[in-house]
């Protein structure tokens, strides 16, 4: 080997081999590397063990994988021939003929098989490549960097800068953001939309940063982007929902193959905690509104009480019964497509009925529960989502009621004489204006009751999620359903 070069410098005219001890092919060709070292000049870049290969003069420790990254190594062993400091040829894996062509007969490897494939380079293992890009490459990220002191806790720094909803966020480092961007083929600088209340353009990169902070996995990105696009539909009135004094916040319902692909929960405890996709997708939307849009509680968010769903409120529909028409299809999305429905949800109101055994009984019972949305004497204001549990749905199904029939029967059951509803009626000041006294009044706007199936197998309980009074102006504010691209 002796060529006068320092031990960590590649020969400008010679050979470089990138290898790792963990690769059986690299171990197999250890005698070849020794032979090439005697012929020289040679440098071996060892990814996992500077004592490997033995008997070679210049072994460069590449535990930090910087050299492997800069040489763009995808598999080991990789043999590279340099001339004048420039790479002129390379071959990957062990192929005697190729190695002899590149390195001469010192690479013959007598007694070895003629050919054996190599192993993946450590520099391209899942999650590693993004770290190396962040350390040594060009991330292409445009968001400004915020330096955190060496001895400071990055998670605490996120709190101190006001980036959190009150729970810890995952610090948005370059490698995490790059991994998140890997979950979508959309360009990082693409503008997804204008985020209220400050009307700020939001790029895919900013979505990825906030998705990292929310705890999303990269494969959630298409859903997060779809949720955001739906939330920015003018008909959803995100600005108004943010600044209302009412309880409501965005409720996210996911339909279609995307929900299954990312493991969303539509079963036991579907509206509760414990599923990463459910928890973090809804949270990502809230963090984008907070951080990019500037919508802060006590600032533009004027909720009197709010509701816990404003941390996150997201679940998938149970589409396991082929007889059931999923919510997204009911709202115009073709079967087999993934979609997001966004509703202005105020929180979960448990509905108990353990006695009804026929669809007719259950319709009357559910209607009584649904009258309570907002206030029992207020109608045509906030709408509602009815989350039908499997046991309640079974009563309907066994009685021959499909989605459309349930909807129709509930609408009929949700009509009441205006005389019972007007202000002052039943000794209660709250109520409908006197002009409704002689009318039969619907509880909800046409299409204002969204029915969705979810929940665990046991329990004659369903959930009623009240809406937002802003929905009373039907042409201006409604639930929206968008296909996820």
């Amino acid at each position: 080997m002796p060529d006068g070069l320092p031990a960590n410098v590649l020969p400008s005219d010679g050979l470089v081999i990138v290898a790792k001890r963990d690769c059986p092919t690299c171990v197999l060709i250890e005698p070849v590397m020794q032979s090439l070292d005697r012929a020289g000049p040679l440098a071996v870049i060892s990814q996992d063990d500077p004592a490997f290969p033995a008997g070679v003069g210049r072994v460069i420790d590449d535990h930090d994988l910087e050299r492997s990254f800069r040489l763009n190594i995808e598999a080991v062993p990789t043999l590279i021939r340099l001339k004048g400091g420039i790479e002129v040829e390379r071959t990957v894996g062990w192929d005697r003929a190729e190695w002899i062509r590149l390195a001469g007969h010192a690479a013959a490897g007598d007694g070895l098989p003629a050919w054996q494939p190599g192993c993946g380079s450590k520099s391209v293992e899942p999650g590693v490549h993004e770290i190396l890009v962040a350390r040594y490459g060009d991330t292409g990220l445009k968001a400004r960097t915020i330096a955190v002191g060496e001895w400071d806790d990055p998670m605490e720094a996120c709190f101190e800068r006001g980036w959190s909803d009150g729970l810890p966020v995952v610090p948005p480092t370059d490698d995490r953001i790059l991994r998140m961007l890997g979950g979508t083929d959309r360009k990082p600088d693409e503008i997804v939309g204008i985020i209220p209340p400050n009307l700020v353009p939001c790029t895919v990169e900013k979505v990825a940063i906030n998705a990292v902070m929310a705890g999303c996995k990269p494969e959630y990105m298409p859903v997060v982007l779809g949720v955001l696009e739906a939330a920015l539909d003018p008909l959803f009135v995100l600005h108004g929902l943010l600044c209302t004094t009412h309880f409501s916040g965005p409720l996210v319902i996911i339909n279609g193959p995307a929900a299954k692909a990312i493991g969303m929960n539509s079963g036991v405890n579907a509206l509760g905690q414990g599923n990463r996709a459910n928890a973090t997708i809804g949270r990502a939307l809230q963090l984008i509104v907070r951080n990019v849009g500037g919508g802060l509680p006590g600032g533009m968010d004027r909720a009197t009480l709010g509701n816990p769903g404003k941390y996150t409120f997201c679940f998938a529909e149970d589409e396991s019964d082929p007889d059931w028409e999923p919510l997204a299809q009911r709202r115009g999305i073709p079967a087999g497509k993934s979609a997001v429905t966004l509703f202005h949800g105020e929180g979960v109101n448990g509905f108990i009925d353990q006695k009804s055994r026929t669809p007719e009984e259950l319709v009357r019972s559910l209607a009584m529960g649904l009258f309570g949305v907002g206030h029992p004497k207020l109608c045509l204001g906030g709408n509602a989502v009815l989350v039908l549990s499997p046991e309640h749905y079974k009563i309907f199904k066994d009685g021959g009621f499909n989605r459309r029939r349930i909807e129709d029967e509930l609408y009929k059951a949700l009509k009441r004489p205006g005389s019972e509803l007007i202000r002052g009626a039943q000794g209660i000041a709250e109520g409908m204006p006197p002009s409704f006294a002689d009318q039969v009044v619907d509880k909800f706007q046409p299409g204002g009751l969204l029915i969705v199936r979810a929940g665990g197998e046991a329990g004659l309980f369903s959930a009623i999620i009240g809406g937002w009074p802003g929905q009373s102006v039907r042409d201006e504010c409604q639930a929206v359903t968008h296909e996820i691209r």
């Binding site: 968001a143 990055p154 996120c158 101190e160 948005p172 480092t173 953001i177 700020v200 951080n291």
Partner: protein, 94 residues
């Protein structure tokens, strides 16, 4: 500094990267000022002088002292100061 200490800004980037100090109050009238002796030599003399000035100006003051000057103030002391006052002076010395 390691790579974990460089974060990307998730916001609209409309405020400076350095966090601004809290603006001083326009007036101390009607406010209670905590005078915090951090326990270093002659710090109490500095606090005494400040207290005199505040008294002459008609401003309410309350005095506190760290148990030791070598460690940060305990949380319960900081919470007590925050609960009882609107402003605080942390006295330096030496």
């Amino acid at each position: 500094m390691n790579s974990a200490t460089k974060l990307r800004d998730p916001t609209a980037e409309t405020s400076p990267t350095r966090r601004a100090r809290l603006a001083p109050p326009p007036s101390v009238a009607g406010k209670s000022v905590a005078l915090m002796d951090i326990g270093k030599a002659r710090g109490s003399e500095f606090i005494d002088r400040l207290e005199d000035h505040f008294k002459k100006a008609g401003v309410t003051t309350r005095r506190y002292r760290k148990p030791t000057n070598t460690k940060v103030a305990p949380t319960d002391l900081l919470q007590k100061i925050a609960a009882e006052n609107q402003l605080a002076v942390i006295a330096l010395s030496d």
